[in-house]
């Protein structure tokens, strides 16, 4: 197997993680920071699913009786990711709620102008 087919999914997933981290580190707008966190989250989910992938595997669902379990992908990472996605949405909403409160407090979304948040 070539390098690309072995690592393309990992590179894509961690590419998203690193892009998300870069956005969080370098942007000053609070909404953009939250978008960065969301991208980060997506990358992690993608990585977990790709860890469980089996070459030429099918979905782990016995839709007909008597199907063989051998060709199915690992169900454990999928089970982890399906709850993580919904929780990610709720946490994103919580972050946006905090952004709303901060905007009301300071009248801006620029992190540099919020006095207590300087770094």
């Amino acid at each position: 197997m070539s390098f690309l087919s072995d690592y393309a999914y990992y590179i894509g997933a961690f590419g998203l993680v690193l892009i998300g981290l870069l956005v969080v580190l370098s942007k000053h707008n609070l909404i953009k920071v939250i978008i960065g966190l969301s991208i980060f989250d997506t990358g992690i989910n993608l990585f977990l699913v790709s860890v469980g992938y089996l070459r030429k595997g099918t979905a782990p669902i016995f839709s007909r009786p008597g199907m063989d379990a051998g060709g199915m992908v690992d169900p454990v990472p999928q089970a982890l990711v399906l709850t993580a996605i919904v929780i990610g949405v709720a946490v994103l909403a919580l972050a946006l709620g905090l952004a709303v409160r901060l905007y009301r407090e300071y009248g801006t979304l620029d992190l540099r102008k919020m006095r207590e948040l300087k770094w």
Partner: protein
């Protein structure tokens, strides 16, 4: 300046990840526990969907914890937005267009029906309580988009959320009293690939579906209230 420091930091992180992942082949045979779930999940839980047999069968207690995390996040959003919320007057929102209004009314019951289908068949087809609940919440989002002044009843939403959460815990306690293990699958498993199979798994997924649907609809309600 921050971007440069960030890129240097990320390069270090990327090298670390790359070194760690070089040993993990992509598309290799699955973990031992995943193989066990696939081989024995059908007999032990009765669910045709192996992911479901993991989420509400083998790891149902973990799922109860995840439902709690979701609940706390939704509660936190409500608290952050309402606590000492000096709301600065209502802004006039432009009413939605005729197409959006009638489309929302037409699609709302169909989306609810699809959501119920997704969580009621969670043990047979791709889907389950979390996905079905998210679909149901999207129906409420469409309702809000069609009419910005419309509000779903908070009392009913909270009642749905609490009752379905209690149902999950009570099903677990029933397993404890019948079989001696919390969340034990005490009901008959039925035949594989039929709707009434897998014992308590469909019941738990219906409860999760209602709970997630009510919670995410509440999240949407809180955020819409903030902008209306």
């Amino acid at each position: 300046m921050r971007a440069v420091v960030g890129i240097i930091l990320l390069a270090v992180v990327a090298v670390g990840i790359g070194l760690a992942l070089a040993e993990v082949p992509f598309g290799a045979p699955k973990t031992e526990v995943g193989g066990y779930y696939l081989e024995h999940g059908r007999e032990e839980t009765g669910a045709a969907n192996a992911v479901t047999s993991v989420v509400v069968g083998y790891r149902a207690f973990d799922t109860l914890g995840e439902v709690t995390v979701l609940f706390v996040a939704a509660l936190g959003l409500g608290a952050v937005l309402t606590a000492a919320g000096a709301k600065t007057g209502r802004r006039d929102v432009q009413p939605a267009s005729l197409v959006l209004r009638s489309g929302a009314k037409l699609l709302f019951p169909l989306i609810i029906l699809f959501g119920v289908y997704v969580f009621a068949h969670g043990h047979l087809t791709p889907g389950g309580g979390f996905q079905g609940g998210a679909v149901i919440a999207s129906a409420f989002l469409l309702l809000y988009l069609g009419d910005r002044n419309r509000r779903i009843s908070k009392a009913r939403r909270t009642a749905t959320e609490s009752l379905s959460g209690i149902a999950f815990v009570v099903i677990g306690l029933l397993g404890l009293s019948v079989g001696g293990h919390y969340l034990m699958n005490f009901m008959p498993k039925g035949t594989l690939n039929t709707l009434l199979s897998a014992g308590i798994i469909p019941l738990i997924y219906v409860a999760i579906g209602f709970k997630v649907g009510a919670e995410l609809a509440g999240v949407i309600d809180d955020l819409v209230k903030e902008t209306a």
